[in-house]
Protein backbone atom coordinates (compact mmCIF):
# COMPACT_ATOMS: atom_id res chain seq x y z
CA UNK A 1 0.00 0.00 0.00
CA UNK A 2 2.73 2.41 0.97
CA UNK A 3 4.84 1.56 -2.05
CA UNK A 4 1.84 2.14 -4.26
CA UNK A 5 1.42 5.64 -2.82
CA UNK A 6 5.09 6.40 -3.37
CA UNK A 7 4.89 5.13 -6.93
CA UNK A 8 1.84 7.28 -7.69
CA UNK A 9 3.51 10.34 -6.15
CA UNK A 10 6.68 9.88 -8.13
CA UNK A 11 4.61 9.29 -11.27
CA UNK A 12 2.76 12.58 -10.76
CA UNK A 13 6.05 14.36 -10.15
CA UNK A 14 7.55 12.98 -13.33
CA UNK A 15 4.40 13.94 -15.19
CA UNK A 16 4.70 17.56 -14.02
CA UNK A 17 8.41 17.49 -14.82
CA UNK A 18 7.99 16.32 -18.40
CA UNK A 19 5.15 18.78 -19.01
CA UNK A 20 7.45 21.56 -17.83
CA UNK A 21 10.35 20.34 -19.94
CA UNK A 22 8.19 20.11 -23.06
CA UNK A 23 6.77 23.61 -22.57
CA UNK A 24 10.22 25.00 -21.94
CA UNK A 25 11.64 23.34 -25.03
CA UNK A 26 8.81 24.68 -27.17
CA UNK A 27 9.29 28.18 -25.79
CA UNK A 28 13.02 28.10 -26.43
CA UNK A 29 12.66 26.81 -29.98
CA UNK A 30 9.97 29.35 -30.81
CA UNK A 31 12.20 32.13 -29.51
CA UNK A 32 15.24 30.87 -31.37
CA UNK A 33 13.46 32.09 -34.48
CA UNK A 34 13.20 35.58 -33.03
CA UNK A 35 16.87 35.50 -32.14
CA UNK A 36 17.63 34.46 -35.70
CA UNK A 37 15.79 37.53 -36.92
CA UNK A 38 17.94 39.90 -34.88
CA UNK A 39 20.95 37.93 -36.04
CA UNK A 40 19.97 38.57 -39.64
CA UNK A 41 19.48 42.23 -38.83
CA UNK A 42 22.94 42.43 -37.34
CA UNK A 43 24.33 40.79 -40.44
CA UNK A 44 22.65 43.39 -42.64
CA UNK A 45 23.98 46.17 -40.45
CA UNK A 46 27.45 44.71 -40.71
CA UNK A 47 27.10 44.60 -44.48
CA UNK A 48 26.04 48.24 -44.58
CA UNK A 49 29.09 49.21 -42.55
CA UNK A 50 31.35 47.17 -44.80
CA UNK A 51 29.94 48.80 -47.93
CA UNK A 52 30.31 52.21 -46.36
CA UNK A 53 33.95 51.49 -45.69
CA UNK A 54 34.40 50.36 -49.27
CA UNK A 55 32.73 53.54 -50.44
CA UNK A 56 35.05 55.64 -48.31
CA UNK A 57 38.11 53.88 -49.71
CA UNK A 58 36.86 54.33 -53.26
CA UNK A 59 36.08 57.96 -52.59
CA UNK A 60 39.58 58.55 -51.24
CA UNK A 61 41.01 57.01 -54.38
CA UNK A 62 38.82 59.26 -56.48
CA UNK A 63 40.07 62.27 -54.60
CA UNK A 64 43.72 61.43 -55.15
CA UNK A 65 42.99 60.84 -58.83
CA UNK A 66 41.21 64.15 -59.05
CA UNK A 67 44.13 65.91 -57.44
CA UNK A 68 46.39 64.33 -60.06
CA UNK A 69 44.07 65.45 -62.82
CA UNK A 70 44.15 68.96 -61.43
CA UNK A 71 47.93 68.91 -61.45
CA UNK A 72 48.02 67.65 -65.00
CA UNK A 73 45.64 70.37 -66.03
CA UNK A 74 47.81 72.93 -64.34
CA UNK A 75 50.97 71.73 -66.02
CA UNK A 76 49.14 71.57 -69.31
CA UNK A 77 47.91 75.12 -68.97
CA UNK A 78 51.14 76.57 -67.63
CA UNK A 79 53.19 74.94 -70.36
CA UNK A 80 51.94 77.45 -72.85
CA UNK A 81 51.46 81.10 -72.07
CA UNK A 82 48.45 81.46 -74.29
CA UNK A 83 46.53 78.96 -72.22
CA UNK A 84 46.68 81.18 -69.18
CA UNK A 85 43.27 82.50 -70.11
CA UNK A 86 41.92 79.00 -70.47
CA UNK A 87 43.14 78.16 -66.99
CA UNK A 88 41.41 81.09 -65.37
CA UNK A 89 38.28 80.28 -67.34
CA UNK A 90 38.45 76.72 -66.13
CA UNK A 91 38.86 77.81 -62.55
CA UNK A 92 35.93 80.12 -62.85
CA UNK A 93 33.78 77.38 -64.32
CA UNK A 94 34.79 74.96 -61.62
CA UNK A 95 33.88 77.53 -59.01
CA UNK A 96 30.51 78.10 -60.64
CA UNK A 97 29.87 74.36 -60.72
CA UNK A 98 30.88 74.07 -57.10
CA UNK A 99 33.84 71.84 -57.84
CA UNK A 100 36.28 73.87 -55.75
CA UNK A 101 36.39 74.71 -52.11
CA UNK A 102 35.72 78.40 -51.67
CA UNK A 103 36.50 80.79 -48.86
CA UNK A 104 35.23 84.28 -48.13
CA UNK A 105 33.23 86.44 -45.78
CA UNK A 106 29.57 85.80 -45.26
CA UNK A 107 27.03 84.70 -42.67
CA UNK A 108 26.20 81.58 -40.74
CA UNK A 109 22.58 80.69 -39.97
CA UNK A 110 21.76 78.00 -37.44
CA UNK A 111 18.27 76.51 -37.51
CA UNK A 112 17.13 74.19 -34.72
CA UNK A 113 13.81 72.66 -33.73
CA UNK A 114 12.03 74.75 -31.12
CA UNK A 115 12.42 73.55 -27.55
CA UNK A 116 9.45 74.64 -25.45
CA UNK A 117 6.77 73.40 -27.75
CA UNK A 118 4.28 72.45 -25.07
CA UNK A 119 2.42 75.77 -25.13
CA UNK A 120 2.00 75.73 -28.88
CA UNK A 121 -1.03 74.55 -30.72
CA UNK A 122 0.82 73.22 -33.73
CA UNK A 123 3.96 71.42 -32.60
CA UNK A 124 5.00 70.53 -36.16
CA UNK A 125 5.39 74.19 -37.08
CA UNK A 126 8.24 74.60 -34.60
CA UNK A 127 10.29 71.94 -36.40
CA UNK A 128 12.64 72.72 -39.26
CA UNK A 129 11.20 71.40 -42.51
CA UNK A 130 12.69 71.00 -45.95
CA UNK A 131 10.54 73.86 -47.18
CA UNK A 132 12.06 76.16 -44.54
CA UNK A 133 15.56 75.40 -45.81
CA UNK A 134 14.47 75.99 -49.40
CA UNK A 135 12.96 79.34 -48.48
CA UNK A 136 16.06 80.46 -46.58
CA UNK A 137 18.32 79.42 -49.45
CA UNK A 138 16.10 81.21 -51.92
CA UNK A 139 16.34 84.36 -49.81
CA UNK A 140 20.12 84.02 -49.61
CA UNK A 141 20.41 83.56 -53.38
CA UNK A 142 18.19 86.56 -53.89
CA UNK A 143 20.49 88.59 -51.67
CA UNK A 144 23.46 87.66 -53.82
CA UNK A 145 25.05 84.74 -51.99
CA UNK A 146 27.85 83.28 -54.09
CA UNK A 147 28.23 79.91 -52.41
CA UNK A 148 25.95 78.16 -49.92
CA UNK A 149 26.30 74.99 -47.91
CA UNK A 150 24.07 73.23 -45.38
CA UNK A 151 25.88 71.07 -42.86
CA UNK A 152 28.78 70.71 -45.27
CA UNK A 153 26.63 69.91 -48.29
CA UNK A 154 27.32 72.37 -51.09
CA UNK A 155 24.22 73.82 -52.69
CA UNK A 156 24.60 73.74 -56.47
CA UNK A 157 22.02 74.04 -59.20
CA UNK A 158 21.47 70.27 -59.20
CA UNK A 159 20.87 70.14 -55.45
CA UNK A 160 17.52 68.84 -54.31
CA UNK A 161 16.30 69.33 -50.75
CA UNK A 162 13.76 66.70 -49.85
CA UNK A 163 12.05 65.50 -46.74
CA UNK A 164 12.82 61.92 -45.64
CA UNK A 165 10.98 61.27 -42.41
CA UNK A 166 12.66 62.92 -39.47
CA UNK A 167 15.71 63.91 -41.48
CA UNK A 168 16.27 65.94 -44.63
CA UNK A 169 18.14 64.79 -47.69
CA UNK A 170 20.41 67.23 -49.46
CA UNK A 171 22.39 66.03 -52.49
CA UNK A 172 21.05 62.59 -51.51
CA UNK A 173 22.97 62.78 -48.23
CA UNK A 174 21.12 62.59 -44.95
CA UNK A 175 21.27 65.78 -42.91
CA UNK A 176 19.82 66.34 -39.45
CA UNK A 177 19.28 69.15 -36.96
CA UNK A 178 20.89 71.51 -36.19
CA UNK A 179 21.12 72.91 -39.70
CA UNK A 180 24.12 75.18 -40.13
CA UNK A 181 23.78 77.19 -43.32
CA UNK A 182 26.92 78.90 -44.50
CA UNK A 183 26.71 81.51 -47.23
CA UNK A 184 29.44 83.58 -48.82
CA UNK A 185 28.49 87.06 -49.89
CA UNK A 186 28.37 90.59 -48.53
CA UNK A 187 27.50 89.85 -44.87
CA UNK A 188 25.51 93.03 -44.25
CA UNK A 189 23.41 92.49 -47.34
CA UNK A 190 22.69 88.86 -46.55
CA UNK A 191 21.96 89.69 -42.92
CA UNK A 192 19.63 92.50 -43.88
CA UNK A 193 17.82 90.37 -46.41
CA UNK A 194 17.15 87.68 -43.86
CA UNK A 195 16.25 90.03 -41.00
CA UNK A 196 13.82 91.96 -43.14
CA UNK A 197 10.43 92.64 -41.57
CA UNK A 198 7.93 90.09 -42.81
CA UNK A 199 10.73 87.95 -44.18
CA UNK A 200 10.86 84.22 -43.87
CA UNK A 201 13.17 84.24 -40.83
CA UNK A 202 10.73 86.32 -38.82
CA UNK A 203 8.00 83.88 -39.74
CA UNK A 204 10.17 80.97 -38.60
CA UNK A 205 10.82 82.72 -35.28
CA UNK A 206 7.12 83.27 -34.84
CA UNK A 207 6.56 79.57 -35.41
CA UNK A 208 8.95 78.77 -32.59
CA UNK A 209 12.00 77.62 -34.57
CA UNK A 210 15.36 78.45 -33.00
CA UNK A 211 17.20 80.80 -35.39
CA UNK A 212 20.64 82.29 -34.96
CA UNK A 213 22.38 84.45 -37.55
CA UNK A 214 26.01 85.54 -37.22
CA UNK A 215 28.19 87.52 -39.60
CA UNK A 216 31.54 85.91 -40.32
CA UNK A 217 34.79 87.26 -41.67
CA UNK A 218 35.91 84.02 -43.18
CA UNK A 219 33.86 80.98 -44.09
CA UNK A 220 35.08 77.91 -45.91
CA UNK A 221 32.52 76.14 -48.04
CA UNK A 222 33.34 72.61 -49.21
CA UNK A 223 33.13 71.51 -52.81
CA UNK A 224 30.28 69.61 -54.41
CA UNK A 225 30.83 65.86 -54.32
CA UNK A 226 28.40 64.88 -57.05
CA UNK A 227 28.83 64.50 -60.78
CA UNK A 228 27.19 66.50 -63.56
CA UNK A 229 25.72 64.19 -66.10
CA UNK A 230 24.05 65.21 -69.32
CA UNK A 231 22.19 62.29 -70.79
CA UNK A 232 19.41 64.05 -72.65
CA UNK A 233 20.60 67.62 -72.97
CA UNK A 234 22.95 68.39 -75.86
CA UNK A 235 24.57 71.59 -76.99
CA UNK A 236 22.26 73.26 -79.47
CA UNK A 237 23.91 74.17 -82.74
Amino acid sequence: MKEKNIAIMLGIMCFLLTVGICIQMKTVTSNAFRMGKTYAENELRNNVLKWKEKYDVAYEKLETKEARLEKLRETASTSSESSENIKSELEKNNMALGYTEVIGKGITITLKDGENVSNRLDVASSLVHDADLIEVINALKNAGAEAISINGERIVDKTAITCAGNIIKINNEKVGVPFVINAIGLPEKLYGALKMQGGYISKLKEDGVFVEITQQNSITIPKYNGVYKFQYAKVAE
Binding site: L10, M13, C14, L17, T18, V19, G20, C22, T27
Partner: protein, 134 residues
Amino acid sequence: MIYISIIIGCILGAIIGMNAPVISYTYSSYLAIAIIAALDTVFGGITSVLNKNFDLKIFLSGFFGNAILSIALTYLGERLNVDIYLAAVVVFVGRMFTNLAIIRRHYVDKWTNKFEQMSLKMKEVNATEKKEAK
Protein backbone atom coordinates in the same frame (compact mmCIF):
# COMPACT_ATOMS: atom_id res chain seq x y z
CA MET B 1 6.46 -0.67 -9.64
CA ILE B 2 8.03 2.73 -8.99
CA TYR B 3 9.87 2.77 -12.29
CA ILE B 4 6.77 1.77 -14.23
CA SER B 5 4.82 4.66 -12.72
CA ILE B 6 7.70 7.05 -13.48
CA ILE B 7 7.76 5.95 -17.12
CA ILE B 8 3.97 6.26 -17.42
CA GLY B 9 4.15 9.74 -15.87
CA CYS B 10 6.91 10.77 -18.30
CA ILE B 11 4.97 9.54 -21.34
CA LEU B 12 1.73 11.23 -20.24
CA GLY B 13 3.64 14.43 -19.47
CA ALA B 14 5.33 14.41 -22.86
CA ILE B 15 2.00 13.95 -24.65
CA ILE B 16 0.31 16.77 -22.74
CA GLY B 17 3.39 19.01 -22.82
CA MET B 18 3.56 18.77 -26.61
CA ASN B 19 0.03 20.16 -26.86
CA ALA B 20 0.45 22.76 -24.10
CA PRO B 21 0.59 26.45 -25.03
CA VAL B 22 3.91 28.30 -25.20
CA ILE B 23 4.64 30.57 -22.23
CA SER B 24 6.13 34.01 -22.64
CA TYR B 25 9.90 34.16 -22.94
CA THR B 26 10.35 36.31 -19.82
CA TYR B 27 9.04 33.51 -17.60
CA SER B 28 10.95 30.73 -19.31
CA SER B 29 14.01 31.25 -17.09
CA TYR B 30 11.81 30.70 -14.02
CA LEU B 31 10.30 27.56 -15.52
CA ALA B 32 13.78 26.30 -16.35
CA ILE B 33 14.98 26.65 -12.76
CA ALA B 34 11.78 25.01 -11.51
CA ILE B 35 12.43 22.07 -13.86
CA ILE B 36 15.92 21.65 -12.44
CA ALA B 37 14.49 21.72 -8.90
CA ALA B 38 11.86 19.09 -9.81
CA LEU B 39 14.50 16.84 -11.40
CA ASP B 40 16.55 17.08 -8.23
CA THR B 41 13.51 16.18 -6.14
CA VAL B 42 12.69 13.16 -8.29
CA PHE B 43 16.21 11.81 -7.96
CA GLY B 44 16.11 12.50 -4.23
CA GLY B 45 12.80 10.64 -4.00
CA ILE B 46 14.17 7.57 -5.77
CA THR B 47 17.20 7.59 -3.49
CA SER B 48 15.07 7.79 -0.36
CA VAL B 49 12.89 4.95 -1.64
CA LEU B 50 16.01 2.82 -2.04
CA ASN B 51 17.19 3.81 1.44
CA LYS B 52 13.71 2.99 2.73
CA ASN B 53 13.29 6.35 4.47
CA PHE B 54 10.83 7.92 2.01
CA ASP B 55 8.52 10.49 3.63
CA LEU B 56 5.76 12.02 1.54
CA LYS B 57 5.68 15.24 3.61
CA ILE B 58 9.41 15.80 3.24
CA PHE B 59 9.24 14.92 -0.46
CA LEU B 60 6.43 17.39 -1.26
CA SER B 61 7.72 20.19 0.95
CA GLY B 62 11.16 19.70 -0.57
CA PHE B 63 9.77 19.94 -4.09
CA PHE B 64 7.76 23.11 -3.55
CA GLY B 65 10.30 24.70 -1.21
CA ASN B 66 13.17 24.15 -3.60
CA ALA B 67 11.22 25.35 -6.62
CA ILE B 68 9.92 28.48 -4.90
CA LEU B 69 13.28 29.37 -3.39
CA SER B 70 15.10 28.93 -6.70
CA ILE B 71 12.49 30.98 -8.57
CA ALA B 72 12.76 33.73 -5.93
CA LEU B 73 16.54 33.64 -6.25
CA THR B 74 16.28 33.95 -10.03
CA TYR B 75 13.98 36.95 -9.66
CA LEU B 76 16.31 38.57 -7.14
CA GLY B 77 19.28 37.93 -9.43
CA GLU B 78 17.43 39.58 -12.32
CA ARG B 79 16.78 42.65 -10.15
CA LEU B 80 20.39 42.81 -8.95
CA ASN B 81 21.87 41.89 -12.35
CA VAL B 82 23.68 38.90 -10.81
CA ASP B 83 23.17 35.41 -12.20
CA ILE B 84 22.20 33.89 -8.87
CA TYR B 85 20.22 31.14 -10.59
CA LEU B 86 23.57 29.64 -11.59
CA ALA B 87 24.21 28.90 -7.90
CA ALA B 88 20.87 27.08 -7.65
CA VAL B 89 21.66 25.13 -10.83
CA VAL B 90 25.06 24.12 -9.45
CA VAL B 91 23.58 22.96 -6.15
CA PHE B 92 20.74 21.01 -7.75
CA VAL B 93 22.89 19.35 -10.39
CA GLY B 94 25.51 18.49 -7.78
CA ARG B 95 22.86 16.85 -5.63
CA MET B 96 21.51 15.04 -8.65
CA PHE B 97 24.92 13.50 -9.24
CA THR B 98 25.22 12.50 -5.58
CA ASN B 99 21.78 10.87 -5.66
CA LEU B 100 22.57 9.17 -8.95
CA ALA B 101 25.76 7.78 -7.39
CA ILE B 102 23.77 6.38 -4.47
CA ILE B 103 21.22 4.79 -6.83
CA ARG B 104 23.98 3.35 -8.98
CA ARG B 105 25.81 1.88 -6.01
CA HIS B 106 22.64 0.33 -4.71
CA TYR B 107 21.96 -1.52 -7.95
CA VAL B 108 25.61 -2.44 -8.58
CA ASP B 109 25.78 -3.98 -5.10
CA LYS B 110 22.50 -5.78 -5.65
CA TRP B 111 23.59 -7.29 -8.95
CA THR B 112 27.08 -8.24 -7.80
CA ASN B 113 25.50 -10.02 -4.80
CA LYS B 114 23.16 -11.84 -7.15
CA PHE B 115 26.05 -12.93 -9.41
CA GLU B 116 28.14 -14.03 -6.45
CA GLN B 117 25.29 -16.08 -5.08
CA MET B 118 24.69 -17.56 -8.51
CA SER B 119 28.35 -18.48 -8.91
CA LEU B 120 28.40 -19.94 -5.38
CA LYS B 121 25.36 -22.02 -6.24
CA MET B 122 26.99 -23.12 -9.48
CA LYS B 123 30.12 -24.14 -7.56
CA GLU B 124 28.03 -26.10 -5.07
CA VAL B 125 26.19 -27.79 -7.90
CA ASN B 126 29.47 -28.61 -9.63
CA ALA B 127 30.93 -29.96 -6.40
CA THR B 128 27.96 -32.22 -5.74
CA GLU B 129 28.02 -33.41 -9.35
CA LYS B 130 31.70 -34.25 -9.07
CA LYS B 131 31.08 -36.09 -5.79
CA GLU B 132 28.30 -38.05 -7.40
CA ALA B 133 30.50 -38.85 -10.39
CA LYS B 134 33.21 -40.17 -8.07
